[in-house]
Symmetry: C2
Subunit: 293 residues, 2 copies
């Protein structure tokens, strides 16, 4: 098993083993019962510059956008598209640029042109962040089926933008954007996008293939003439791939004792030598890992 992006940040100190248990130790020791398999039907595989980026769709929030993305992927809509805008400390954006050859490629049947803005909904089975701190953007932060969420004063719940969150690009009107142009957050969690831009998923493996792309030097960090954007060879649902190329991912159950311990250790980080004075939702996420053969 190898750990994905949510679990790799380790101690900055290199020379000495931590004196106190690190949060990452929990990941090695958590029993199988602490993990849930992510359904293959939620997984999108994007091949960019020869590398694989795996996105988990968020079907609970913005379900119409998520269904659109699934339809577009199954139809091969993005094959030959590119990551054409990369803003340092903000987003990498992909699709077809305005005016590009394929910009007028018809969307496959069933894709809804402009799904209604759908940014929050009544909370259901929300687990409050254990040992958490106040969230600057809501009343409380927590998790719903493995996704980081914010709970608002009106009782609604919205998904949270963190590093790796995949959002739907749109025009000025919130009721625009089908999901044919997407972006992933690659810097400081852009929480200002919460409830402004639909969250359609998150990169759970291979985010570094987006975050290391050269930054665009044109207006709004779009790639300028002469800059070669990274080509997207294919985008498919995981279950469309030949069996030998399919991968399985599991996420830690937010209600498990393992996650409570992980969150406690991540909150306090006594392995750093001094206590930490708080925790934010993007830094204490449900760990996700890829199952190796």
């Amino acid at each position: 098993m190898s750990f994905s992006i949510f679990a790799i940040a380790a101690s900055v100190a290199l020379q000495e083993a931590p004196a106190v248990r690190s949060p990452y130790a929990v990941l090695d020791e958590a029993p199988e019962s602490a993990w849930t398999t992510i359904p293959a039907g939620e997984l999108v595989v994007m091949m960019v510059g020869g590398e694989r980026v795996v996105i988990q769709l968020n079907t609970a929030f913005a379900p119409t956008h998520a269904a659109n993305v699934e339809r577009l992927a199954r139809a091969g809509y993005w094959d030959g598209a590119s990551v054409y805008r990369v803003v340092d400390n903000f987003v990498a954006q992909w699709g077809f640029r305005e005016g590009e050859e394929y910009n007028s490629r018809p969307a496959p049947d069933g894709v809804v042109d402009n799904p209604p803005a759908d940014f929050s909904r009544p909370g259901s089975a929300v687990t409050i962040m254990p040992h958490g701190s106040p969230d600057p953007f809501s009343q409380l932060a927590g998790y719903e089926n493995g996704w980081p969420v914010a709970l608002h004063a009106d009782g609604s719940v919205s998904p949270v933008y963190c590093y790796g969150t995949v959002g739907v690009a749109r025009e000025g009107d919130p009721d625009t954007g089908s999901g044919d142009t997407l972006f992933a957050a690659i810097g400081t969690p852009p929480r200002r996008l919460d409830r402004n831009f639909a969250v359609v998923g998150r990169v759970i493996d291979g985010i570094e293939h987006l975050s290391t792309l050269p930054r665009g030097s044109g207006a709004m960090s779009v790639y300028a003439e002469g800059q070669s954007p990274a080509t997207i060879a294919t985008v498919r649902m995981m279950d469309q791939l030949p069996e030998g190329e399919q991968e399985k991912f599991v996420m830690m159950t937010e209600g498990s004792a393992s996650f409570a311990e992980y969150a406690y250790l991540q909150r306090h980080r006594l392995d750093y030598g001094r206590g930490t004075s708080g925790a934010d939702i993007c830094s204490v996420q449900v760990p996700i890992k890829k199952l190796e053969d």
Copy 2:
């Protein structure tokens, strides 16, 4: 004039001009009186892979570490070192690796081996974040001489880790680490390092030359054998460079009306079509810009 990292994040939507004033408009219009020149003696210039990375030293917090870094830069200590550890969504770390040829290079005169841990101090001229929200890691967040800081219940103030913050690597004991090995934050603000790892500065220009580096594939994301780390050609103080190669930077004064308006607009982001429900200190920083000839 061109804007540096703190000002480039723009609207995700591309096709339509925002209907409401964007925070970035303030930067174009702020009067000269809203800006303060950053002293050249605070600026370190690191040449990495042919690109220029400019670091502003934080001489107020961890002054001994900052003085060490200045001495090391003036003496050319890091020439030939490398960025040998890059952790996605965490840090890029540079210096000489344990066991490297130059690891035993003597530090120049005056460098203090293990400055005492010095992570916070009594607050003095702190400006509370205008229109800010609760900070998960402290009582209140704000600014001191242009630096983002956290105010704690005991009256102390500590610098905040944001994207681009430069910290001092050390061993397990907080009282170790001279500043000869440094790291810059390149992902989610690692606030868990606040008051754990000395803040010695921040990258104010060229952070993308660190954040786009290939991630290390060895243990703890150190570059594995066969991965070529980015070579550091030189590190010098800005005022050591030939006059034609020197650059000037200004930062917006946190007490200015321009900054209050910028913070207000960044807090509300009505240009996104919907209001934002909060603001965090790392997303509302004092803008910094490079003066072009």
